[in-house]
Symmetry: C2
DNA sequence: TTAATCGTTATAGTTAACTCTAGGTCAAGT
DNA sequence: ACTTGACCTAGAGTTAACTATAACGATTAA
């Protein structure tokens, strides 16, 4: 089975070796094997697990909570409900984030067109006189 | 013209007075007026400006960069291009975030169904034997 | 008049997530 | 043999964005 060094994994996942060792220290990588001298040996499933860690992180989940999930995984079928509930909660959380981000996008797009108009006019004042301007072009 | 105290603004925007004073200290609220004794007086347009600050913050923009934008606003029409460019860049940034979040959502939803199946079966092993199971039901 | 409440500043403390340094081991190449 | 480079740990340092405290002033209700 193919194995990977810590720097290979770091490169693959766009992380640093510092970060990976930090994750390990925080208990996020209890499954990673070691050589006799202590060197970490990662395999493909370790990398897949790290991708889930990164996925949870990208939902805004703090590392301490991700550790709970990792712990549950090690406890077997008795924690299936907890893990299911966790992912359902993450789903709701991401849905809310998507909604928020869409609202943010609307504001940003409004600002883009605001500044486009101002830029074309050479002055922001164009927006102050918007009613007058509208009446003039009618 | 209606004015607002710092705690009223905090309540309205779901922030704390600490945060608002912190923003002020960081140069995000140079437009806020003061009473003779130093008390801040916010008006409606200050609140609107703060909503833009919050919008920029929700795109992941750091406070120091938001300050640049605030400074540009105070410098008038000579900075219109910079401000337009900034919002266009923010737009691209939010688009990228939306893409990322959609990918995250796919992974999370996959995990939800993974754990739903495991929960129904009472064991996670169901996924290890997925090929055998598939052949049995055929 | 005095106690509470709200405001102020300056400054210190907190938290999360890294990020780095020092000092060490070990295997490979010259 | 010795240098180079990748690995290790423990622990210190950094950064952003708050969050809290202390000490003070002004306003208001009892």
């Amino acid at each position: 089975m193919k194995t990977y060094s810590i720097s290979e994994v770091a490169k693959e996942l766009n992380l640093t070796t510092y970060t990976l060792r930090y994750y390990d220290k925080e208990g996020l990588l209890p499954f990673v094997e070691r050589k006799a001298n202590g060197t970490r040996i990662f395999n493909q499933s370790d990398i897949e697990a790290l991708k889930i860690v990164e996925c949870l992180k990208s939902t805004g989940m703090p590392i301490k909570e991700i550790k709970h999930f990792i712990d549950w995984c090690g406890e077997g079928d008795s924690t299936l409900q907890k893990r299911y509930d966790m992912f359902m909660e993450r789903k709701a959380c991401v849905e809310a984030q998507l909604e928020e981000l869409k609202k943010t996008m609307e504001v940003i797009e409004h600002k883009c067109s605001y500044y486009k108009t101002a830029l074309d006019a050479g002055t922001e004042d164009i927006h102050k006189n918007v009613h007058i301007a509208a009446s003039l072009t009618k």
